[in-house]
Structures are given as structure tokens and as C-alpha cells.
């Protein structure tokens, strides 16, 4: 319970800031008591209801109450006592101001920037898949995870990078921990990025396959973005808001147009198989990442930001007004048996890797040590920007969980189970769902698909279609009624695909820069960022790498999401382990051992989760979980000349063997890389504790700030002594 931190934060530290201790006024005591009550009532209803349907409003109350308390007390405690933020100290944005990379930015604007950079499809997908275990475990993890893990990581990485003029996580690891740990961190980040891009792209493929409406409207985003790019560069240079509004209008037209295409004779041109979509995406990824940014990436980024903010606001309003009931059970049997059809394995550790973004996401450490630290105006703002943005993302994850849980469980499993289990028709799917212990009739399945004007909803795994059906359910209840369901469904699909395409494009570029940087050490010309062939070669390598996993996943007879999503979740959380290890080491190096638990506890938890999950994925002898166990099972069957369920041909059998071998090896490599970083960090920590004098760090020296921000309010000002 988040309230347990209250005594901690009220505890006066012996070496705390020498200035005044804020005393709470009676009014604020009253307000915060009320907030705690709201949260407590929400949790009580969630925890105590068994068997009956409850309203999503209770979930929202639990979430928002907890966030408010965490932000007010825990985040403030971290800022004041642990980090000792000092508003008299000039930030790099002030000291190094150049009007381009570094410039002090209004905190509300920077909050928006940072949020747009961290939030994408991840928090929308993980919670949907995790609904397999019921709404309660997912909710607890999303909320507790963000308060004690994710938001803490984001905020502290942001702070440490800011104190180092905006150094990246990799650079910090190299400079402060050592060459070996630094190199392992760099390679790890690159490899993890490849898996991330492949999984995200696979979500798009699964959402668009065989859907003329979806494919048409999502492909229209390309000409729309190109038009915006040219408009912005030649017709109305720099008029970004105007261009974005035109873009959003065109986007909505494209969604409506998709409905028209679906019913016309043109539909057949937009019904693509998953394999075709893979090749389109790979080709698109390559072209988009070598084109100048103004043509495609920048305009799509604007669109995606507007859509993101708009849709999330709409979703919050929708959930509050519609106040839908949660149809899912609070805790399903799959939580303990580990035999769920969506992802295999028991609650610990697999729930905690399925929901990464929204609770604890290592990728955020890369964003928090990227552009944001170079733009912060005042040190105390790391709380709002680092901690606050992550709380907001967590809220998005909670809404995604709600959207998945308002669906009939039967429909949920009919959509998310592997195709091999469900079979090709609504009848076989209904039968399969019945065997899982849920009910849905073939007619209901057909009607659900018809309501959103899709051919079928059976086996539409990946999370995006499920979220879209849930959102259409909620939205249609508030705006437009049942007749609008199909529009809202495709609106949601479009919105997710848009994020993902932007991430794929930007991620390929970031990956290419990393690769150029790494290879540049070996062969100089490839490292030059202006040498075109170098750009093409490295882009092709990056696209080829994620393209391989995408293709392997999409053609996997046992369902790529089931195979790759755990790999992605573990990878993302391993990156968080790297970030938390680096931050803990830095806290120790700065002589703050007594506060090292702030990042140390989430680190220990995260290492326990990821290494248990990784270990099981490699060594489990249950073929549903272990990559190598499954590999052996199929390899044995190939020797015996048998076909096992899921495989239709011998080719399929070989595919399964190959994919599981590759995935298992990758898993092992990830674990070894992260272990290297952890060991290196531990060595540095021990050295720092034993040293009589503080070890050298790369923190930039104190310079007095000349920016005065009166409007932030007195109670919020965090005055340090100026160390």
C-alpha cells in the first residue's frame, strides 16, 4: 500500500537540507486525508469483491488516490532527501544554453514532450495480455510498480543525467562504472531495441492482417505525413500547429474512408496476408529511416503526439462517464496454474514481465537520459517531469486494463488464444473457449466481429484488436452509440498503429546511430553520420535484424506473440535492471548509501523477476514455458517423423525448432550481458563504500542559477543550501 511510505517521508533525516521543514497546514492535512480515503475505498472494493461485477470507477479511484499520495509524499521525499535537488544550482539548460540542444523549457511543455516520448503502444498492450490473470494482479502491479519502481527510475535517471549535462545511460555506465559494464550495457541496449521493434511491428501486422479498413486507413497515414512534410517545408514553413490540425482532420477522413473502402469493390486490394504486411513494414521501415526526417518522421511525430494526447483524454472521459462494469474475474485460475492460453507461466514472474511499460520500463531510462535532461529549467522539476510523466503513463496502462476487462471473458480468449488452439472458424473457437472454462456462442462471436465490421475477431492476438474492441465498447457507450462502434474500433487501431510506426521509424534511426557508433570504433568510415552508403548499410542491418524476428514471429505456427512477447518483456525489464543498477551505484558513489534502498529495492525485485523468468524460459522442462524444452519436443518428433499440434507440415516443425533455438540463445545472451553490468556495478559499489575519499564522478560542478521562477509557488520551492 502506498500509504506505508508516509512515515518514511515525514522522518527528518539528520543530513537533510538545513532549511525549514515544511509543516502541513490543517487544510492540507484534511485534503490529503480525503485523498487517502478515496484511494483506500477504491482498493477496499477491488480487494474485497469476489465473484460479483464491479464498476471500473473503483479501479480509477484506487489508481488516482495512490498516484496523488505517491507524488505528494514519496516523490517529494526522493527529490528533497535522496537527490537533494537544489534550485539555486544552474541546470545544463541554463549553463550551456545554445538555443538548439540546450534551452530552459517551461516545465508544463517539457512534461508534454517527455510524456509523448515515453508513452506509446507498450502500456496499451501489456495490460491487455495480462488481463488473462484477472484485473486485480495487473492493477496492483501497475500501481505499486510505478510508484516504487518505474517512476523512481525515470526521475532519478533524469536527475543524474541532468547533473552530467545530459549524458546518456550508456555513457554514464561507461564513465562511472567501467569499460566492461559500459560495453555490455551498450550491446544490451541495442539488442533489446531490436526485439522491441520486432514485437511492436508484429502488433501492427496482427491488427491489420486481413482487414481492408485497417490497412487502408493506416497506409493513408503515409501520404498524409508526406503531404504535411511538404506543406511544412515549402508552403507554410514552420506552421506546425496548423499543419497538425490539417493532418488530424485528414486522419479522421482516412478512418471514415476505410469504412467506405471496406464496403466497396476496392476492398480486395487492401486485404493483405500477414506475410505481405511483414514485407511492406520492413520495406517501409528501411525507406522511412533513410529519408530526410522532415518528409515522414517529423510530421508523423506531430500527428502521433496530437492523437496521443487527444485519445488518452477521450479515454479518461469515456471511462468516467460510461463507468463500465468489469466482466473479467478479479483473479483467474491461470494466475496460479500458469496454463493460460495468452501467455504461459505463473503469476510470478510472468505477470511482471508481461506488464512492463506502465509499471517499470527500462526503455524510459534511455529517454530520460536523452533530450529531456538538457531542457530542464530547475532541478526540482525532475519530480514533475520524471515522476509525473511516468504516473501518467501508468494511468494509461490502467485504462488499457479496464478496456480489456470490460469485454466478455469468452470474447477475450477467443481473440487472444493462439490460432492453433482456436481453429479457423467461430464454431471451433467457441468450442476451444469452452474447453478453457468460458462461454461464448459462435453467433455472439460473429456478432462481435460484425459490430466492428471486421471479417472475424477469432485469433486476433497481439493486444491491439482487443484494446480496440474494449475502447469501442466504452466510447460507443458515451459518444455515438452502437452505430459508431466500427468507427471507434478502427480509430483505436489507427491510433496504435500510428504510435508504432513512429516508434519503428525513430527506433530504427536510433539503432542505426548506435550501430554506426559501435562499428565506427572498428572501421572509421562507417561511423561517419554523413556518409550515405554507411547510413544505408547500417539501416539495412537494423531493419534486417528486427525484420527477421518479425517474420519469424508472424510465421510461427504456435503464435509469435506468445513466443516473443515474454522475450520483449524480459528484455525491457532487464534494461530497467541496468538503469537501476547504474543509479544505485551512483547514489553510493555520491555517498548516499543510506538512501540506496530507494533504487536498490526495485532493483532487487526486478532482478528477481527477470532472472527467474529468464531462467525458466531457458531451463524449464515444461515445453509451454521453456524455449529449449519446446525445441527438444519438436526436434524429437521430427526424428520420429511425427507432426505435433500446431504444425501443419514438416516445414512448420523445423520452423518451431529454429525459432525456439534462436529465442533461447537470445535470452541467454541478454542475461549474461545484464549480469556483467550487475557484477561490475557491485564491484564499484564495494570500492566506493570502502574508499576513504569519495570516488570521482563526472557530475558537473556547481554554478549558481540566475533564473528566478516566482510562479512555482512557495510551498513547492525546493531550496537547497547550494552544496
Amino acid at each position: 500500500m502506498p500509504t506505508s511510505i508516509m512515515p518514511e517521508s515525514a522522518l527528518p533525516g539528520p543530513e537533510g537540507p538545513p532549511s525549514r521543514r515544511s509543516r502541513m497546514t490543517p487544510r492540507s492535512v484534511l485534503v490529503w486525508t480525503a485523498v487517502s480515503l478515496v484511494g483506500a475505498i477504491g482498493w477496499a472494493v477491488l480487494g474485497l469483491s469476489r465473484g460479483e461485477e464491479i464498476s471500473a470507477v473503483w479501479l480509477l479511484m484506487a489508481a488516482l488516490g495512490s498516484y496523488a499520495i505517491a507524488y505528494r509524499f514519496y516523490a517529494r521525499f526522493i527529490a528533497r532527501r535522496v537527490l537533494q535537488v537544489d534550485d539555486t544550482r544552474a541546470t545544463p539548460a541554463e549553463r550551456l544554453e545554445d538555443g538548439v540542444d540546450y534551452h530552459p523549457t517551461d516545465r508544463r511543455v517539457l512534461f508534454g514532450h517527455h510524456f509523448a516520448a515515453i508513452a506509446g503502444a507498450g502500456p496499451l498492450v501489456g495490460p491487455v495480455l495480462a488481463a488473462q490473470m484477472g484485473y486485480l494482479p495487473g492493477t496492483i502491479w501497475i500501481i505499486a510498480g510505478v510508484i516504487f519502481g518505474g517512476a523512481v527510475q525515470d526521475m532519478i535517471v533524469l536527475f543524474l543525467s541532468m547533473r552530467r549535462n545530459g549524458k546518456s545511460l550508456g555513457q554514464m555506465a561507461r564513465d562511472e562504472i567501467g569499460r566492461v559494464g559500459g560495453a555490455a550495457a551498450l550491446i544490451g541496449v541495442f539488442a533489446i531495441m531490436i526485439i522491441l521493434l520486432a514485437v511492436l511491428a508484429m502488433i501492427v501486422v496482427n491488427a491489420l492482417a486481413e482487414s481492408a479498413w485497417g490497412t487502408f486507413s493506416v497506409s493513408m497515414t503515409i501520404p498524409i505525413a508526406l503531404f504535411m512534410g511538404f506543406y511544412l517545408r515549402y508552403l507554410r514553413p514552420g506552421q506546425v500547429v496548423e499543419t497538425s490540425l490539417i493532418g488530424v482532420a485528414l486522419l479522421l477522413l482516412a478512418i471514415l474512408g476505410g469504412g467506405w473502402i471496406q464496403d466497396s469493390s476496392l476492398a480486395e486490394y487492401f486485404v493483405w496476408s500477414p506475410e505481405t504486411l511483414v514485407f511492406c513494414l520492413v520495406g517501409y521501415g528501411f525507406i522511412a529511416s533513410v529519408l530526410p526526417v522532415w518528409m515522414l518522421l517529423a510530421p508523423r511525430d506531430y500527428l502521433s503526439t496530437f492523437m496521443k494526447v487527444g485519445t488518452i483524454a477521450l479515454m479518461a472521459v469515456g471511462v468516467v462517464i460510461a463507468a463500465p462494469n468489469l466482466k473479467a474475474e478479479s483473479v483467474t485460475d491461470f494466475a496460479s496454474t500458469g496454463a493460460g492460453p495468452v501467455f504461459a507461466g505463473s503469476l510470478f514472474p510472468f505477470l511482471f514481465i508481461t506488464i512492463a511499460c506502465g509499471a517499470l520500463s527500462g526503455f524510459h531510462a534511455l529517454v530520460s537520459s536523452g533530450t529531456t535532461p538538457k531542457l530542464i529549467q530547475k532541478e526540482s522539476q525532475v519530480r514533475m517531469i520524471g515522476y509525473g510523466s511516468m504516473l501518467t503513463e501508468s494511468f494509461v496502462a490502467v485504462m488499457a486494463l479496464i478496456a480489456a476487462c470490460v469485454l466478455e471473458p469468452g470474447l477475450f480468449y477467443a481473440m487472444n488464444s493462439p490460432a492453433a488452439l482456436l481453429g479457423p472458424t467461430v464454431d471451433s473457437a467457441a468450442e476451444a473457449v469452452k474447453n478453457l472454462g468460458f462461454t461464448i456462442t459462435p453467433d455472439q462471436l460473429a456478432a462481435a466481429a460484425k459490430a466492428v465490421e471486421e471479417e472475424t475477431l477469432v485469433g486476433r492476438s497481439g493486444g491491439a484488436p482487443t484494446l480496440a474492441v474494449g475502447m469501442s465498447e466504452i466510447f460507443a457507450g458515451v459518444f455515438g452509440g452502437a452505430g459508431m462502434k466500427a468507427f471507434w474500433y478502427h480509430f483505436a487501431i489507427m491510433f496504435e498503429a500510428l504510435f508504432i510506426l513512429t516508434t519503428v521509424d525513430a527506433g530504427t534511426r536510433v539503432g542505426r546511430f548506435m550501430l554506426q557508433d559501435m562499428l565506427g570504433n572498428v572501421w572509421k568510415p562507417i561511423g561517419r553520420v554523413t556518409w550515405k552508403p554507411g547510413i544505408w548499410i547500417t539501416s539495412a542491418v537494423v531493419v534486417g535484424a528486427w525484420g527477421y524476428f518479425l517474420y519469424a514471429g508472424v510465421t510461427d505456427p504456435l503464435g509469435g506473440i506468445r513466443q516473443l512477447f515474454p522475450l520483449f518483456g524480459i528484455a525491457n525489464q532487464l534494461l530497467a535492471a541496468v538503469a537501476l543498477a547504474v543509479t544505485t551505484t551512483l547514489l553510493v558513489k555520491h555517498g548516499k548509501q543510506r538512501w540506496a534502498w530507494v533504487t536498490g529495492i526495485p532493483l532487487v525485485w526486478d532482478v528477481a523477476v527477470t532472472f527467474t523468468a529468464g531462467w525458466q524460459k531457458i531451463f524449464s522442462d515444461n515445453p509451454a514455458i521453456g524455449f529449449f524444452a519446446l525445441r527438444d519436443k519438436y526436434a524429437q518428433a521430427i526424428e520420429d517423423g511425427q507432426l505435433l499440434p500446431g504444425a501443419k507440415t514438416m516445414d512448420d516443425m523445423h520452423k518451431i525448432v529454429l525459432n525456439n533455438t534462436v529465442d533461447g540463445v537470445i535470452m541467454a545472451v541478454f542475461l549474461v550481458l545484464v549480469l556483467t553490468v550487475l557484477v561490475n556495478c557491485a564491484v564499484v559499489c564495494v570500492r566506493a563504500v570502502r574508499a576513504t575519499e569519495p570516488l570521482p564522478t563526472t557530475e558537473a560542478p556547481y554554478v549558481e542559477s540566475r533564473i528566478d521562477l516566482p510562479e512555482q509557488g512557495k510551498s513547492e520551492s525546493l531550496v537547497g543550501a547550494g552544496s
Binding site: G99, V100, D101, H103, T105, D106, R108, V109, G112, H113, A116, A117, I118, A119, G120, A121, G122, M193, L196, L200, L232, R233, P237, G238, Q239, V240, V241, S244, P292, V293, W294, L297, A298, D301, Y302, T305, A356, C357, S361, F363, H364, L366, V367, G370, T371, F499, T502, T503, A506, G507, R509, V510, R512, F513, V529, N572
Partner: protein
């Protein structure tokens, strides 16, 4: 009426800041301060500069 206008003004301000449209104004101010005699780049020229900058510093988007 004035409330509506104020809210709309704030929204527009936020949108311009968030998308970076307002960066040009700041850039011009800075340019005049640091190079008072050099001509200020036009919007078009600035737009080119800005995209060059983005080209060289790709920013990752998270999942």
C-alpha cells in the same frame, strides 16, 4: 467571453510550444542578442536548420 479567449489562448500557446512552432521566435530573439548585425534567418531557413538538427540527433520513442 474573456474566459473562453484565455483558455483558447493557453491551449494555442501550449500547442505551439509542444510542437516546437514557438522555437523560431526564441531563436530569432537569441540571434539578435548574440549577432546583432547578421540577418535573422527566415522561417523557411530556420525550418531547414531545425530538421538538419533532428536528423543528426534522433530521439527514440518508447514502446
Amino acid at each position: 467571453m474573456s474566459v473562453v479567449r484565455r483558455v483558447l489562448g493557453t491551449v494555442l500557446w501550449y500547442a505551439r510550444e509542444l510542437t516546437g512552432e514557438a522555437e523560431y521566435d526564441r531563436y530569432c530573439q537569441r540571434h539578435r542578442r548574440h549577432h546583432p548585425h547578421a540577418p535573422v534567418p527566415t522561417r523557411r531557413e530556420y525550418q531547414v536548420l531545425r530538421t538538419h538538427q533532428r536528423e543528426a540527433h534522433p530521439q527514440g520513442r518508447c514502446c
